[in-house]
């Protein structure tokens, strides 16, 4: 039977190959024109049209994908140690993870947001927040490396973050788990009225450097998500809240008692002016600010002790609450800046507020009471419309460039397209399974690009080959250029992506750095050529300044190291060509490897435990002679007097 089967298979193959010339003709016109495969196929060697930056959730990192192919291009370490290249392990980068709680080697990365100029993505940096130990990071889109991390004091659960204003004047942080402000020891069940939810506004300068400008002392609700105003509403920021009940336990039930919670509308321009004119009170704080300096290639960590607190009641007209039904989650602002969408996650409807109506309501004082002294606008006064029965459990909304909005519904597991202004549902597509965030390139800006949408699903189940109980999450790419959304592609993501941001590749790729220039390397221990390589002993610390080039280390023989020493290997990669990293690892090192880019210097430490001859080697397959790229270290017993001696090719220095 077998041969017959094979012959049949062969015939089938024949038929398919012989018809391939005809296909070429047919591709242009027939049914093939709309094939999903064709739309996501990027030929070998060709580049994708978009960079997409997906938060890695509990991986603490960002992953970079190409769209439409869904190919993963890179993982950028941000809040978590990354042994692949030594981030968070190397002497130069470990302080990036320093906080007021000490070194925190892991983070929960949430919402990436690309910097903007005039309300459009400008491709300079991407910001991302850490939810667990509140922090915000800034990643350079020239180097795709984390350059700065600032801790947010007095916050807990920094979730409504890290969205930027229209000209990247501010990046914001919030407080999802209200806490005593400042922290103090007190009974948990006395939460109500005593906990607070500070919102932090971090100013960003033209080099990208972050500095906390002020902290808004808000009532102790849970500030869940946020988005900036744009266009006419530029100068405002909107935050959803839940648990306005201020329940301290069993929130699953107790935080869902009120029919409506609030969207807080914050006029940050007004508060910014107030602060500039000396408003606000300084209060004690303890937080750490880490900046990676590309010239010294070292992290500078500064501990700060003060923050400016602003009582919103002291700034008239600065903060208002807009009642929004059913514990709203996503807080999204349309490209014009007129509509603020509250995604009531326990509802089937979406509530849309109007910015212009809000201004009128404020002017006419259409208030419906107040919460802790902050005016509550009447629900009807700001309401633009309701998207009725759109699905179950709305979470997030993004926009295209044709006046449409797209909302994810977690419970009914679908993406729903609806019309701004008429509030009618136009289309719905299932997303597999239990979709959380969605992303349209530029979807949080004045200029969204309505070509692709990705949905980020919380549950994967049977979408891929099973890989045991633990599965990667699944993203889905849709074509949204037509009337109907069309599912094109599934691709796995790393960690749990909470939100993503994407930008046209052209806006970034020309600026993408290829090497670090050796003549700009100001690292304290760099050996910038082989004649500068050395070993320097300082007590039991030994600093080795070492170089790499295809395909040897200098020095590659080292003697005079003793058990009990702490050896610092400062390794400089002398290469100046694109994509020629070298690696460094040594047997028994209680840390990660180093992966050193051309022109860079990186350092790991090694504390040899046993006398002997111990090898080290290059971990990156750098050349045909990579396997030869290795060296030996002689470790003598503690207290012995083997002199220091190092060299290459039997030419020694000592």
């Amino acid at each position: 039977m077998k041969p017959i089967k094979n012959i049949i298979a062969a015939l089938v193959l024949m038929a398919s190959f012989t018809s391939c010339n005809q296909n070429k003709e047919g591709e242009k016109s027939g049914a093939m024109a709309s094939s999903a495969a064709e739309k996501v196929y990027v030929s070998p060697g060709e580049h994708d049209e978009y960079y997409a930056f997906l938060s890695g959730g509990y991986s603490g990192n960002i992953t970079v994908y190409g769209l439409p192919s869904g190919r993963m291009l890179k993982e950028i370490p941000v809040f978590s140690q990354f042994p692949t290249n030594g981030y968070g392990y190397s002497e130069e980068t470990k302080d990036m993870l320093k906080t007021s709680f000490g070194m925190v080697p892991w983070g929960d990365a949430h919402h990436p947001d690309i910097s903007q100029t005039n309300g459009e993505l400008d491709g300079r940096w991407i910001f991302i927040n850490e939810n667990n130990t509140p922090r915000i990071a800034r990643i350079s889109l020239e180097t795709f490396e984390t350059e700065e991390i600032i801790e947010i004091p007095h916050s807990a659960g920094n979730h409504s973050s890290s969205y930027v204003t229209e000209n990247t004047e501010y990046v914001v942080a919030g407080t999802r788990f209200s806490v005593p402000y400042p922290q103090k020891d007190m009974p948990i069940n006395e939460m109500k009225g005593n906990f607070k939810g500070p919102l932090t506004f971090i100013a960003v300068d033209d080099k990208g450097h972050m500095e906390i400008d002020f902290q808004l002392d808000m009532p102790g609700f849970n500030y869940d998500l946020s988005h900036p105003g744009r266009g006419d509403s530029h100068g405002w920021f909107f935050f959803t809240t839940y648990n306005t009940e201020e329940a301290h336990t069993m929130q699953e039930v107790n935080a869902s008692q009120n029919d409506k919670d609030f969207i807080a509308a914050v006029n940050w321009k007004k508060i910014s002016e107030y602060v500039e004119n000396g408003g606000g009170q300084k209060m004690e704080a303890e937080y750490v600010h880490n900046v990676f300096d590309h010239s010294t290639q070292t992290t500078v960590s500064t501990t700060k002790n003060e923050v400016l607190r602003v009582d919103p009641r002291q700034v008239p007209g600065a903060v208002f609450f807009m009642p929004t039904p059913k514990s709203p989650h996503g807080c999204d602002v349309d490209p014009s800046g007129e509509y603020i969408i509250g995604n009531g996650k326990l509802s089937s409807d979406l509530t849309v507020h109007s910015f212009s109506k809000m201004l009128k309501a404020i002017e006419n004082k259409e208030f419906d009471g107040e919460a802790y002294g902050i005016p509550i606008l009447s629900f009807e006064s700001t309401l633009a419309g309701i998207v009725k029965n759109a699905g179950l459990g709305p979470l997030h909304t993004e926009f295209d460039d044709k006046g449409n909005a797209y909302t994810t519904f977690f419970i009914s597991s679908e993406a729903v397209k609806w019309k701004l202004g008429t509030w009618e549902v136009l289309d719905r597509e299932p997303s597999y399974y239990s979709v959380g965030h969605l992303m349209i390139p530029g979807g949080n800006s004045r200029k969204p690009e309505g070509k692709y949408m990705i949905t980020l699903n919380k549950i994967t189940k049977d979408r891929y080959l099973p890989t045991g109980p633990e599965l990667e999450h699944s993203a889905q790419l849709f074509d949204i250029s037509g009337d109907k959304m069309e599912l094109l592609l599934d691709f796995p993501t790393h960690g749990e992506p909470h939100y993503a941001a994407a930008i046209k590749a052209d806006k970034i790729k020309e600026n993408s750095k290829k090497i670090y220039r050796l003549d700009e390397n100001k690292h304290k221990y760099a050996a910038l050529n082989e004649s500068e390589t050395k070993m320097v002993r300082d007590g039991n610390e030994v600093h080795v300044s070492m170089t790499t080039v295809r395909s040897h280390f200098a020095p590659d023989n080292l003697e005079g190291i003793h058990v009990g020493d702490k050896v610092y290997f400062h390794v400089t990669n002398l290469e100046q060509d694109f994509d020629v990293p070298h690696g460094f690892s040594v047997i028994g090192a209680n840390t990660s490897e180093l992966l050193i880019m051309p022109g860079q210097t990186k350092t790991i430490t090694w504390e040899p435990k046993k006398p002997g001859i111990w090898p080290f080697y290059c971990t990156d397959f750098c050349s045909a002679l990579h396997q030869e790229m290795q060296g030996y270290i002689r470790v003598s017993p503690k207290g012995s007097n083997t002199p220091m001696k190092w060299g290459l090719d039997d030419e020694y220095k000592s």
Binding site: I7, A10, M14, C20, T547, A554, L574, D577, S623
Partner: protein
């Protein structure tokens, strides 16, 4: 039985290539066949066996941005000193002047090679080691260690060459 299956598959493959093939593809396939069977291998053997023949002379200008370069009479010692510094930082990990290291010893290089060849070897090594007969031979002699592109500008390469001239004049 197995044999029949294999024959069947072979025929299939033959048919499939025939069916899809057009003249362009055929040409490409021929080229790649040539590359492997005759050109590369033969040339390399030839080069290795008779090292002095394959363009190993001062008329070879190499491949790259520098098409013509005439040395002036004297040596610009300031330029040579700059070149010595760049050489130390960018080249000395693999090249010594007076002994073979990873790459060849450089003493006498300005007498062995044309000015253009040296410049192009510094500025365009990736293409040189693929196509230039001398560079190809040198890579084989250097145990397949490639000549690294250190991203130098033309004036930087020129100052290195001036350093070589000075060295050769003095040694």
């Amino acid at each position: 039985m197995k044999l029949i299956v294999k024959i069947g598959l072979t025929l299939t493959l033959v048919f499939s290539f025939m069916a899809c093939g057009n003249s362009e593809k055929d040409e490409k396939e021929n080229i790649s066949l040539d590359d492997y069977s005759s050109e590369t291998q033969e040339k390399e053997t030839e080069v290795i066996s008779t090292p002095d023949k394959a363009g190993d002379d001062l008329s070879n200008k190499g491949i790259g941005p520098v098409k013509s370069l005439d040395f002036p009479e004297g040596i610009d010692s300031e330029m040579a000193n700059q070149g010595a510094v760049i050489f130390k930082n960018m080249c000395s990990a693999c090249h010594k002047m007076d002994k073979k290291f990873v790459g060849p010893a450089l003493v006498g290089v300005t007498q062995r090679r044309s000015p253009e060849w040296i410049m192009n070897m510094i500025l365009n090594p990736e293409e040189m080691i693929k196509k230039d007969p001398i560079a190809k031979r040198l890579m084989v002699e250097s145990n397949m260690a490639i000549m690294a592109d250190q991203g130098l500008k033309e004036d930087e390469a020129r100052s290195i060459v001036e350093y070589f001239r000075q060295y050769d004049a003095e040694n």
